[in-house]
Symmetry: C2
Subunit: 205 residues, 2 copies
DNA sequence: CATTGTACATACGGTGCCGTATGGAATACT
DNA sequence: AGTATTCCATACGGCACCGTATGTACAATG
């Protein structure tokens, strides 16, 4: 269960090349972001890590164990973290705008989070268990958007509609970035966000 | 090459159960819409059609031959057809609103087109050859949106931004419908479209 | 220094899929 | 009637992957 067996001596006194469970998870995340859930194969990951399957099955009970770990990582290190990062902004509008920038630019350990986001969505389509987790994460995100839009003065129905609209557009950006980047320009998403914010906060000029 | 060998006698004078190439394509489309491109497997389709692989390899040279046929079907029977259906509307605004409704509700031979749309996008991510075709189709769609928005008075930059924004939101709807339908309500997309149209055509009240 | 546990490597059986080769039944052709 | 053509069934080899069983070098421990 512990990510690092002891913490003191583990990668210095030992052979200095031993893999942790977390190394496998990160490799899985990279594979997921790049080629989708179907690319997350234990024998391929083993090869990419210059190691054999024996290592994998020491750290994980089976493939679905790794997949669960990917969803855990996703649930813990994203969403809440991104939201926390914009809490310092003074106004709801500023927080939402900052959040949009974060969503467009996030990365983790060298993997493009936007690519991974799209891969998680595509995964949820094919795997009902994954879908449950993904829906829960998205509910948190939508919930945050709704709260901030409400603070801006939108009534509940309006806030829900706009929050979902913004998020759907973001899903579109994540999907399109993976095969049609010309379509998924940041400016397009920014425009959508601006339209939604203007719809509740009054027109800017 | 011909979809029906002769046209007169083919499914009446013969055993009345023989499959055409098109039957396979439609079965492939259904499988694609339901489980993604990875579900389009010749042995699975054969089983679903109560037939053996022998049949498949008589009608197709290999699996990628079927996949190309799926893209052909997509290219020919969609996009242009949907656009033609709204040509009778009097104004650009009415045409775009009607197009939005069509995109949300389309179906073909019992398969939900929205589900298939999402599957095509997901497919394009994993298959560069498919991506080329999908991008070409999307370019047609975006192009139409841009033209109509321009007719409404938007300048080129504005029209492109809004067209892509609308389409990205639609991509989000297609993606979300497959695993999180509560997120992909039609009303959400309609709101986005309304915001975009209002941004160019002046505010309604 | 012998023992124990860690972190792998290697080898195996099994499954699902692809594409091919070949055979066979029904229909159309002359 | 006999032959050719159409459409499909069956059988095969091969690959990529999964999970398990077993062996093994090394470090940690008493």
């Amino acid at each position: 269960m512990p990510l690092l067996p002891f913490g003191k001596e583990s990668h210095l006194t030992r052979k200095a090349k031993e893999l942790t469970r977390n190394d496998w998870v990160l490799a899985g995340l990279a594979a997921l972001a790049e080629g989708g859930i179907d690319s997350v194969r234990v024998e391929r990951l083993a090869k990419s890590l210059n190691v054999s399957k024996g290592s994998f099955y020491w750290h994980f009970s089976d493939r679905s164990d790794l997949l669960s770990a990917l969803l855990d990582l996703w649930e813990k290190d994203f969403t809440a973290q991104l939201i926390a990062n914009v809490a310092s902004q003074p106004t709801p509008r500023a927080r939402l705008l900052a959040l949009a920038e974060e969503a467009l630019d996030a990365s983790m350990d060298g993997v493009d989070v936007a690519q991974a986001e799209g891969a998680f969505s595509a995964w949820a389509v094919l795997d009902p268990a994954a879908a449950v987790r993904v829906r829960a994460i998205e509910a948190q995100r939508i919930g945050y958007l709704v709260r901030e839009l409400s603070l801006m003065g939108a009534d509940t129905a309006q806030a829900e509609l706009l929050a979902k609209g913004i998020y759907l557009a973001l899903l579109g950006v994540f999907a399109a970035r993976r095969y049609n980047p010309a379509l998924a320009e940041d400016a397009v998403f920014r425009r959508i966000v601006a339209l939604a914010l203007d719809a509740v906060g009054g027109r800017r000029r």
